[in-house]
Each structure stands twice: as C-alpha cells, then as structure tokens.
Symmetry: C2
Subunit: 221 residues, 2 copies
Amino acid sequence: MPAEPTPAETPGRGRRAARPSGDDRERAILGTAEQLLTQRPYADVSVDDLARGAGISRPTFYFYFPSKEAVLLALLDAVVAEARLRRDTALRHPAPDPERRWRQVIAAIQEPFRTHRAVTLAAAEARASSPAVREVWSAVMERFVTETAAEIDAERARGAAPPGLPSRELATALNWMNERVLHTTFAGHGPAVGEADVVDVLLGVWLRAIYGEPHPRGSTP
Amino acid sequence: MPAEPTPAETPGRGRRAARPSGDDRERAILGTAEQLLTQRPYADVSVDDLARGAGISRPTFYFYFPSKEAVLLALLDAVVAEARLRRDTALRHPAPDPERRWRQVIAAIQEPFRTHRAVTLAAAEARASSPAVREVWSAVMERFVTETAAEIDAERARGAAPPGLPSRELATALNWMNERVLHTTFAGHGPAVGEADVVDVLLGVWLRAIYGEPHPRGSTP
DNA sequence: CGACGGTGTCAACAGGGTGTCGAACGCCTA
DNA sequence: TAGGCGTTCGACACCCTGTTGACACCGTCG
C-alpha cells in the first residue's frame, strides 16, 4: 500500500508520480487495455493480460495502477471529458433553429462514445461491480440531465415549447433513453437502431417530447 | 419467493429431473438467492453463500444448479413470464382511450419488475457477463418492441396518431427508455424519477412521441 | 432377504484470478 | 565505493469456481 504524496491530476486513484520512462509504461497499459477491450469483454481481460500486453509482469502492473478498475477509470475519464467538452461547445454554438440545436447536442455526446465504444461498453459492464465507475457515470448523467432541464425550461419560458411534464423528469427520461439506445446500437444486443439513424431517432423523440410536434415553433434569435 | 410453477419449460439448463425432496432444496436455493440479492449485488453473492443459505454444501449446490448464473436465470424467467403475461392481458383488456391503454401496458410491465427488483437489478448486472441472461433480456425487449411497433402502426392506420419516425425505431427507443428509467428508479443510481411518478413520466413521453400531443385524438371504440 | 442402482451428499482437489511482500537490480549522486 | 531511490518480479496467501470420487440412504426387484 503505497502512501499517496500528491498525484498530479485525478487525485485518489492512479499512481503516485509521473516519470519519463514510467509514462511509457502507463501509456502502454492504457493502450493495451483499450485494444483488448475491442476484442473481449471487460470481465475477460485480466490484469495479467494487461501486464503482458504492456511488456511487464503482473506485479509491476500494480506499480502503475492499483487495479484493473483504475485503468478503465482512466480510459473512461478521457472519453467522458471529451463528451462534456463537445457538449458544452455544442450548447454554446448558436444554431438557426431548435431542431438543429438539439441535434448538435445529441450528436456531440454520441460522437466520443461511438469512437471509443470499447471503453463505453466496458464501462457499462463494469458499472455493475464498480462503485467508482458507477459514480463517474452518475455524475455525467446528472450533469446532462440538469443542463437539459434548464434548456427545456428556457424553451418553455420563451414560448417555443408548451408546458408538459416537469422539465427535470422529462430530461431524466430523455437522457437515459439516449444512454440506453446508444448502448444497444454500439453493443448490438437486443433490438437496436442502426448507427446511421440513431441520432435522427433520438432527436425525433426529443422534439416530440419537448415541443409536442415534429417541428418546433419559432427559431432561436 | 412467490412460488412459480414454471419448471418443465426451459430445457437445456437447470438440473436434470424434478424430485420431491430435491424440490425443497431447489426452492431453498432460489429463495436464498432472491433474499441475498436484496442485500448485496449479484457479483458479491457466491455459490457458497447460496449453498449455506439453503443448508447444503457447495458441491451439493451443483447437483441442483449448474452454476450461480442458472439460479438467476430461473428467477428471471419467472419475473419475465409474469411481465409478459401481464402485458398481454393489458393489451387485450379494452380501455376507454389510448392514454389509459398505454398506461395499462406500461404499468403492467413495470409491476413485476418492481416487485422483484432484486432479481431485476441482478439480471441487469449479470447481463454484462452472462450471454444467457443477455439472451433472455434481448428476447423480452424484442417482443415488447415488435408489439409496440404494431400498436403504433395500428394507431396511425386508424388516424389516431400522425405519421412520424418509423414505428419500429420509435418503439425501440421508447422501450429502451422504459427499461433504463425503470432501472435507475429501482436502483437509485444517478438521476432518477421517483417511483410514484415513473409511470406518469414514461407515459407522458410515449404519448407525445406517438401522438405529438399530450392528449391523443379520438378514442378506442 | 439382500444386492443393486438411483438419489443425494460432501471432503478434497485442480485451476485461475487478485493483490501483496520482500529481495534484487540498475542508475544517479555523493 | 556506497548509498538511495525508482523500478521490477518471483513467490506467496487468499478467494472463488467447478469437478471428482467415495460414500450413505432407500426403495425395489430377483
């Protein structure tokens, strides 16, 4: 149990300090993990696989990461950070009308998760057994929901959207819908929407649920 | 342990034959499992826990079930069978208007999963690692989606619902939304809708998505 | 009656995974 | 040349799963 002097970022997990040769190993582990996760589920990737893939022994792996979970968390943090960034950008970027605006937002979130689908699916899998992963996921969803609810309130306030379900609950339902539909599209288990159509379908439901009609009234100034 | 007379079907998994004294043990294992799952996650329940809970040794457990997974599958089959039954009943039962009809259907599905939430959550957890659980879940969702799509088509055909997204894709999105929202409500992880409101919220989105308005036109004869 | 086979039971084992500990190995600095 | 420190890994302790082989119980059939 190594005492934690002061990690750079991601306080609490990860290893203690960053050192040149060590960084290569860390990257090798991360790279091996993402690569292996495209081939088999998270549960079937052992610490030994990760270590071998990075050219080190299993005990040495533990010098860099406290557990397999921490590797996934590091990978997930990066994807989540990008999704947040893209979403914020889309939210700030002006759009000619609400439909395009919402499409930008939905597509912005979908993009990083699609690109790193192995990490996304592994995270969804690990959420069951890892409180830390669950925590990250919850925080992301919480943020998306809160922001979506604020957007809905704004649309209602300016008269573009009619009143309806409480915005917070509507936003919760819509965001979880996106999460699950995207997941099935990426995973291919059970009934799924094709990858080419998924944004259109989600957008379609959002518009109807928020505006009550396929095409919202009024446009953004 | 609401006693489910569902043996005989599901050939292939489970143990070979049913015998009087052995049935008690089988029920004890099933009961222990459902009870333990209300206390801790599926992954933290070992075969040994199940065996001890049923008053037998671990090897003896394997006489009754081939694995921990099979126990969950047996539990899940019962819940799923009840959900299907209730849904079919709701679908056949006439309702004064579409809103009440859809509410009946959504509530019918939600009920058994809510009552057996430990099994529901365990199944969701195990879906990641167990192809068999995933299979059962996929089949259920597939059926719900297909039937929902048919209902939407019927509503459109009789002029009650306007055209919109392809019914199959709309049905896919709505059913997965229900699955995930119900899950978060039961699990309490991340943003969730309160248990008392969840059917109303889901129904609200379904109505808007299918009919384009809070209250659908026309009523069922 | 008594051996016989199916049902039911478990101690012991094999196998594979995780996380830890302590010895050792460079390599830089004094 | 000696230490100190970052780094590495062999060996170990532990936990869990699933299997094996011996054995006990019991109804039943020769």
